[in-house]
Symmetry: C2
Subunit: 209 residues, 2 copies
C-alpha cells in the first residue's frame, strides 16, 4: 500500500474550469497518479454514488487505488479500496468497524495528538496538512515542517503530505521522505492534466524520492 | 411496523428556538410519537453519529422506532431500525444491499411512478408529500390528495403523509386512512412539545384513525 500512496490525487469538482470530471480524472490516471480519493462535500448520495462507480472502474483500469472521502456506505457499495475521514467525520475506529480489516483507512490529522490517536484507532495512513497555504479549503490550519517531522518520528504508518503542494515547493517534503504527495489544484487546474501528472511522476517517483 | 408509523417525528435542529435538541425529542417521545427519523442535512459525520447514538437510546427507552435519514453507514453503526432516503440519496435497492432484509427502508416519493419503483426496489413504507405547503423545505413539490389516493391504490406498502400537516388540516388524510402522519414543525415548534405530542396522539391514534 505504501508505494501506492506516492502521487495521491484528491478530486475537486469545482476547479475543473468546465471540463468533464471523468475525463480530468482519467487524464490524471493516464499520467500516473497512483491513488485517487473521491471527495464530494456538496453532492448528495445518488450523484456521489454514480461518481464513485465510475471512478472505481477508472482506477481499476489504470491499476490505481481508490479511496472514498467520508461516506463509508458508498465505499462499501462500490467496493472502494478504502475510506478517508477528517476529524469531523465518522471517527476512525467506527469506520474500521464498518469496513473490516482489509480495506484501507486514512485519517486527516494536523497535530501529533491527532496522529497518534488515528494510528491507535486503526488508521493505515495519515494525511498531514495543510503543509502550505491552499485555496481548496481542504485544510484550513497550517502544519509546519517541524510538526510533520514530529509526527513522522512518533507514528509508524505512512504519511501523505497535503495542502498547497506545488512542483516548486516540495523540496522540503522530499528531504522529510514523506510517503505520499497529495495534490488537488496542482494537477486538476493544469491546462494539460495528463502532462502535468507525468511531470509530477517524474519529479517524485522516477527521481527516487 | 405499520402501527409504529402512526405518529412519525422528523427532526429539524434549526427550528427548536434555542432549546436542547435531545430534550425536545425526548418530550415528543414522552408525549407519544411512535417513530423518530433523525434528519441532519447540515452536520458532518462525527456530530451526526453522536446524535444518532443518543436518539437510539432515547427511542429504545420509549419503545419507538428509530430511522436515520440518508446516511446508511451511521444507521448501521448505531443499529437503527431503518433508513429513510429521498430521490437524490443512495437509491433504495442499494440501501437494501447494505442494510439487509431485517431493517426498515423508507423512501420519499412524490409521484405514482416513484412510488411503484420504490416498492419494487424494496421499500417497506413510503413517505408521500408535501401534502400541504411547508416551511421546513422537506419537500418542495406539492402532492394532491387525489395523487395520494392513486398511490394508495397502486402500492401495497404503508404510506406516511408528510409536509405541512397540522391538527386543523388532517381531516382529508384521515378519510384517506393513511398509515402515518409525519410531523416536523407542528410538534417541534410547539411551546410545550410533550403536550402537543399528546394532543396528536389523541387525534390520530386514540380516535382510531
Ligand atoms: Ni392539495
Amino acid at each position: 500500500m505504501r508505494d501506492k500512496l506516492k502521487l495521491y490525487l484528491v478530486t475537486d469538482s469545482d476547479i475543473l474550469k468546465g471540463r468533464d470530471f471523468y475525463k480530468c480524472v482519467e487524464d490524471a490516471l493516464k499520467g500516473g497518479v497512483t491513488i485517487v480519493q473521491l471527495r464530494e462535500k456538496k453532492c448528495l448520495g445518488k450523484e456521489f454514488l454514480e461518481k464513485a462507480y465510475r471512478l472505481r472502474e477508472l482506477t481499476k483500469k489504470y491499476n490505481a487505488l481508490f479511496i472514498i472521502n467520508d461516506r463509508v456506505d458508498i465505499a462499501l457499495l462500490v467496493d472502494a479500496d478504502g475510506v478517508h475521514v477528517g476529524q469531523k467525520d465518522i471517527p476512525a475506529f467506527e469506520v474500521r468497524r464498518l469496513i473490516g480489516k482489509n480495506k484501507i483507512l486514512g485519517v486527516s490529522t494536523r497535530t501529533l495528538e491527532e496522529a497518534v490517536k488515528a494510528r491507535n484507532d486503526g488508521a493505515d495512513y495519515l494525511g498531514v496538512g495543510a503543509i502550505f497555504a491552499t485555496n481548496t479549503k481542504l485544510d484550513a490550519e497550517h502544519v509546519s515542517i517541524n510538526k510533520l517531522k514530529d509526527i513522522q518520528k512518533s507514528v509508524d504508518i505512512p504519511i501523505v503530505a497535503i495542502g498547497g503542494l506545488k512542483l516548486d515547493n516540495i523540496d522540503m517534503l522530499k528531504e522529510c521522505n514523506v510517503d505520499g504527495y497529495a495534490v488537488v489544484s496542482a494537477i486538476l487546474t493544469a491546462d494539460d492534466i495528463y502532462n502535468e501528472s507525468k511531470v509530477w511522476v517524474n519529479e517524485i517517483i522516477n527521481k527516487g524520492c
